[in-house]
Symmetry: C2
Subunit: 165 residues, 2 copies
């Protein structure tokens, strides 16, 4: 390099210090902060009221939506680890909020479904969750909400391809 020549903001100098990363502007960090806060705020609400953990709520929610499912399908749909599903299912069965019925065509798996008590709790939590989500979205216009969902879809697709590819 010619002496006396100034580097254009260090771009060519491999020994230059990297710009520090501004966390407040770093998308993965921002996403995580938001999601954690949202998740925990909601979980505090139904946790206090029904003694339900997050994995248990996810199992209830999945069965409430789809009716009858195997543990494997629940895990696949809600992206929970199979051990997490196994334990949540065991806890819910013990409290008689779900029932397990054998699949005689495949004895490895079992069909899971909400009991009446489970359905009752589910139907109490759902409006609560809806109210929370609604009041969370209350600051957003219809357009912004659509944008948000479209952006989440795009990013989810993107990160999936980064993980595997």
């Amino acid at each position: 390099m010619a002496s006396g020549e100034k580097l254009p903001s260090g771009a060519m100098d491999i020994h230059a210090e990297a710009e520090p990363l501004r966390l407040e502007g770093f998308l993965p960090y921002r996403l995580n902060m938001l999601a954690t806060e949202v998740s925990q705020t909601l979980a505090r609400a139904y946790g206090r009221k029904f003694g339900i953990s997050i994995p248990e709520w996810r199992v209830l929610a999945t069965l409430g939506q789809f009716g009858v499912m195997t543990a494997r399908d629940i895990g696949g749909h809600s992206r929970m680890h199979k051990t997490t599903v196994s334990r949540a299912v065991a806890a819910l069965e013990k409290r008689r909020l779900i029932v397990r019925r054998a699949n005689r065509a495949d004895m490895r798996e079992a069909f899971l479904a909400l009991t009446d008590a489970g359905t009752a709790i589910y139907q109490e939590i759902v409006p609560m969750a809806r109210a929370f989500s609604d009041s969370l979205c209350a600051g957003l216009s219809e357009t912004e909400l659509r944008q948000m969902n479209a952006l989440i879809d795009k990013l989810a697709e993107r990160v999936a391809s980064l993980g595997t590819g």
Copy 2:
């Protein structure tokens, strides 16, 4: 109720079953799926390479950005639990990636800062994190990126008020 009179989609019937919640369209659920996937994909990258956990990376990143801080400030800024910070700091200090210096004006707290080795690792991880974030955002236009950030801000503000209020 007058017999033969139809309820408008059950709106007035308190015994009507609630509509099941569609999880795929439920914002808190969607946000959490995305953030978890993003966080873990990035963590796998620097975790494999440097043996750094997520809390440890957050401490490094915070110190890298702000220079000198107390454990309390790190926790406050990155919203980590003080015990999580305490243990991450202990681990990083043991590996001599950060140093702890007494604040003689307040002996409860201590000033933390990156060592040369810590700075070196930080400056290796930062470009990695930037590359990840960039390739995550590669599918978004400049406008979409601005929108995403604005929407995250709005929702974060909103959830904060829901938690306290």
